[in-house]
């Protein structure tokens, strides 16, 4: 196979992110530099002003709650004034502010960042991990999003990729990716359902798979239903009882809130394996009037957790019902049922799913990694000519225009395979109307304003006539890249107006350009600087190892010809390494690392044999 530029698949999760690639025809997870498959989607600014991403950021969350950003995926592409964001702010320990266009800005230190910028920090980390793995730069990626993300949220995710220096080949749906990973390389034929309950979002999709073609028939979900909500139920329960006993609302204290969050999540995870979990938070608060510090000590049983979260589980099942109706299938028509996302480890969830689908879920997939693996499959399918995989994805929500009376006329219904285009004829709604406004909406609500406004434009210069006499062709199109464009044409005069929907997550095109420009230099610098730093510490460790090995070898070889020769060589290599270390040029450091690595393995081999 010809040497190709590496392409990666990224699962940008609410709690954790994973990056994968196609290794000799098998999708494989790339471990991060901390040797873990999962990278926490956490970004923090340390007290010393250093930007931390991943495990290291998560670990310091408790001592630095106001400058540690987690679950930013729940905010991406949303409006600040939306009820979901307003709800979320109440339980988030970091600062969330309104931007100029009702978008969201996250406070980190004394700077405010747009959500895509924060997501880009996580993506950059994953990109760097992949680059460390491949030993070369990585540009192309497929990123997954919850199936139920709307156009704005998708665009914002794409922006994040661009800010991170990635060429985002495609944004694909998480459950679809899971199905790709499940069905890839198997001769699966038939309908399968994917139940994806992750950290922040819930999705369910039904696909028809036939020898390499993955045809999404229906998809549905809730972008505000996931593990975080289960955690919040536990937090509420803890806070409520604590307030009753001590009259203190722990949520007002950011550090306490962060500790509560961690222990709630830990207890929830523990309860997937055991019947009871202890929650122990010493010195959680001090009484207002002074006095001894208060401790929080509770036992959470599995039954109690299930009681607290019963409605959340029920909600997932009712969404499943709707999706099966949309797909026109019965549970018995399904060949397989796949569980994805960390939350599907909860016994109550498994039980509810089993009961509804009347079958045992498939056990062959890893719920945390399967989405990234599927993204890697699609990345490979898009870039290699010998792949047999074709993904027929759908638009998850309906698209339409606002019509007189404040209602919506849907042109592209949800679950339509893309690319697609639809034209419909509209009429003027008033006498002598010379201008029409086309408002492009996404969503399922009958009333126009309850849907998401993707964009709007005006068609002017219409002929004066009685209402209903002027005919206008409105065309909606979603191309193979998932870009929505809308055009309106006066049938009589041929006058035409159109827009491409590029509304992004609060970032205007100018802003995005500015961020990219600002980072263009920074990005390169950061990358080589980071890399050099890493190599230097690697070299340092090797130097120490060689220094320690020299006397050992000297002793073992008892001044033989071979020993003398080898030791002289090693010493000169050490000298070279010291010089390389002091004059930091990447290529010299790398050369020294190579020499010393060979020396170490040679010495160790000799010592092994002599013993």
């Amino acid at each position: 196979m010809a040497e190709r530029e590496p392409v990666i698949g990224i699962d940008l999760g609410t709690t954790n992110s994973v990056v994968a690639f196609m290794q000799d025809g098998t999708p494989t997870v790339i471990r991060n530099r901390a040797s873990s498959n999962l990278t926490p989607s956490v970004v923090a600014l340390s007290k010393t002003g250093k930007l931390l991403v991943g495990q290291i950021a998560k670990r310091q969350a408790v001592i630095n709650p106001s400058d540690t950003v987690y679950a930013s995926k729940r905010l991406i592409g949303r409006k600040f004034s939306s009820p979901q964001v307003q709800d979320a702010i109440k339980v988030l320990p970091y600062g969330v502010h309104a931007g100029d266009h009702d978008d969201i800005r996250i406070q980190l230190g004394d700077k405010k960042y747009a959500v895509p910028e924060v997501a880009a920090m996580v993506l950059k980390e994953l990109k760097a991990d992949a680059e460390a793995f491949f030993g070369q730069s990585v540009r192309k990626a497929v990123i997954t999003v919850p199936a139920y993300f709307n156009d704005g949220q998708r665009q914002a995710t794409k922006d994040a990729g661009r800010i991170a220096g990635l060429d985002v080949l495609r944004i694909i749906n998480e459950p679809t990716a899971a199905a790709l990973a499940y069905g890839f390389g198997k001769s699966v034929n038939g309908k399968i359902a994917v139940f994806d309950l992750g950290g922040g979002t819930f999705d369910v999709s039904v696909l028809d798979v036939s020898s390499g073609v993955f045809d999404v028939i229906a998809t549905g979900g809730d972008t505000y239903l996931g593990g975080e909500d289960f955690d919040n139920r536990v937090i509420e329960w803890l806070v409520f009882d604590f307030a009753k006993e001590n009259g203190i609302d722990l949520r007002k204290d950011r550090m306490a809130l962060q500790r509560l969050k961690e222990s709630a999540e830990k207890a929830k995870i523990e309860l997937s394996g055991s019947k009871e979990a202890q929650i122990n938070l010493p010195f959680i608060a001090t009484p207002a009037g002074g006095g001894a510090a208060l401790h929080l000590q509770r036992t959470l049983s599995r039954d109690k957790l299930e009681e607290l979260c019963g409605d959340l589980v029920a909600k997932t099942i009712s969404i499943c019902e709707q999706v099966l109706v949309d797909a026109r299938v019965k549970p018995s028509d399904l060949k397989e049922m796949i569980l994805v996302g960390g939350m599907t480890r909860m016994p109550k969830v498994v039980e509810a799913v089993k009961h509804f689908f009347r079958r045992d879920p498939c056990k062959g997939v890893h719920p945390d990694e399967v989405v990234a693996l599927g993204a890697a499959v699609q990345a490979d399918a898009l870039t290699s000519s010998d792949s047999d995989v074709v993904l027929l994805d759908v638009t998850p929500q309906s698209l339409g225009v606002a019509v007189a009376g404040g209602y919506v006329r849907r042109l592209i219904p949800k679950n339509t395979t893309v690319p697609t285009s639809v034209t419909e004829v509209f009429n003027t709604s008033k006498d002598d109307q010379t201008t029409v406004k086309i408002m492009v909406l996404q969503g399922e609500a009958e009333v126009a304003h309850q849907n998401e406004l993707l964009g709007e434009f005006i068609l002017t210069g219409l002929r004066k006539a009685r209402r209903g006499e002027v005919e206008i062709d409105v065309t909606f199109e979603i191309n193979s890249e998932g870009i929505v464009s809308v055009s309106a044409k006066d049938r009589e005069t041929g006058l035409q107006q159109s827009i491409q929907v590029t509304a992004s997550g609060g970032l205007t095109e100018d802003e995005l350009k500015r961020i990219l420009d600002e980072q263009a230099d920074l990005l390169l610098e950061a990358r080589s600087g980071e890399e050099l730093q890493g190599k230097k510490s690697e070299l340092k460790a090797l130097m120490k190892e060689v220094e320690a090995l020299i006397p050992q070898l000297d002793k073992a070889t008892q001044g033989s010809e071979f020993g003398k020769d080898a030791i002289t060589k090693a010493k000169s290599a050490l000298d070279a390494a010291r010089k390389a270390f002091d004059a930091p040029v990447l290529s010299k450091v790398t050369d020294s690392i190579d020499t010393l690595t060979r020396t170490v393995s040679l010495f160790k081999g000799v010592l092994e044999r002599i013993k």
Binding site: D208, P419, T420
Partner: protein, 316 residues
């Protein structure tokens, strides 16, 4: 084949062009399945075609004009698949396109006289081979055109022989769209169009009379209107409609317009003239009314209607 460089194998380019050429055909033909194929067969065909024609298969390659072609093709395939795999949409599509329904009837052998080939279930392999064959045939535009027209003509003539003019009409309509210059199709179409109209009009008229017998005047009115609209030459229907409207207190202008139609289609009928005269008179057009009364008197001085309505006011 042209100046632009296109990163698609030549053979595949040919397939793309061939499919692009037949996108105007009906949903079944576009997907290369037998008319009336089941939802599962449609989906399988759609999947097989997706493997070749989904734009993602050519992602990142230099496509030139083929990019737009692939997009158009795939959108058309999606449309066909969406309609044929959704029972409601499929039903509506067949209702709106009787010629497709006719094609199904002949393909599935419900009308054995037209299509001797029995609709034995085909294996997937045969199906694929057939699709391949059809595609190859479609590559030769002239051949495809001639065969298609001949097919439609034969079927249309069979329908005419059985007085099934509406089926024949839709078949000929397609044929003339394929080749507007074909004289045989053109003359036959004109003839069938008229016969079809008369047949429909007579059918509606008969239905209206039945409804009147049952005392359902409202539906009878509807049927009569349909009958008059279908064929202007059905004077009986026009007259019946006018009298019924008068009886039920309809708009005078409307009544006179139908009476006018009846008179135009059958100028010799005395009762039509009398009715038209009365309506014109009521609408205040005295001189026009007089003209028709005069004519009625001339045509049938002893006609009961003339005695009843005309003679008593004579002379003006």
């Amino acid at each position: 084949m042209s100046a632009e460089t296109i990163d698609i194998p030549a053979e595949r380019q040919q397939e793309i062009l061939a499919l692009e050429a037949k996108l105007k055909a009906n949903h079944f033909e576009v997907l290369g399945v037998t008319p009336g194929a089941s939802s599962d067969q449609v989906r399988d065909a759609f999947h097989a075609l997706s493997r070749k024609f989904h734009p993602d298969r050519y992602h990142g390659r230099q496509l030139g004009s083929f990019k737009a072609k692939l997009d158009t093709i795939f959108k058309r395939l999606v449309e066909a698949n969406n309609v044929l795999t959704d029972p409601d949409k499929r039903q509506k599509y067949l209702d709106d396109n009787p010629f497709v329904r006719a094609a199904i009837r002949s393909a599935t052998g419900t009308n054995a006289a037209l299509q001797p080939e029995p609709a034995a279930p085909k294996s997937a392999e045969e199906e694929a081979r057939d699709a391949e064959r059809r595609l190859r045939l479609a590559r030769h535009p002239y051949l495809a055109k001639v065969t298609k027209i001949q097919e439609h003509l034969v079927k249309a003539k069979a329908h005419i022989a059985k007085n099934e003019f509406s089926h024949a009409f839709s078949l000929l309509n397609i044929a003339t769209q394929i080749d507007p210059q074909n004289v045989e199709v053109k003359t036959l179409l004109a003839d069938v169009r008229k016969k079809n109209e008369v047949q429909r009009s007579e059918g509606d008229f008969k239905r209206a009379l039945d409804l009147l017998n049952q005392g359902n005047e409202e539906l009878a009115l509807q049927a009569l209107r349909a009958s008059v609209n279908a064929s202007a030459s059905n004077h009986e229907a026009a007259f019946k409609l006018a009298t019924l409207l008068e009886k039920t207190g309809g708009d005078i202008k409307e009544i006179s317009s139908f009476a006018q139609k009846a008179v135009e289609a059958a100028p010799q009928k005395v009762e039509y003239r009398v009715l038209l005269g009365r309506m014109l008179e009521a609408a205040g057009m005295k001189s026009l009314a007089k003209k028709h009364f005069d004519e009625a008197l001339r045509l049938g001085p002893d006609h009961p209607d003339v005695k009843k309505h005309v003679k008593k006011r004579w002379p003006f």
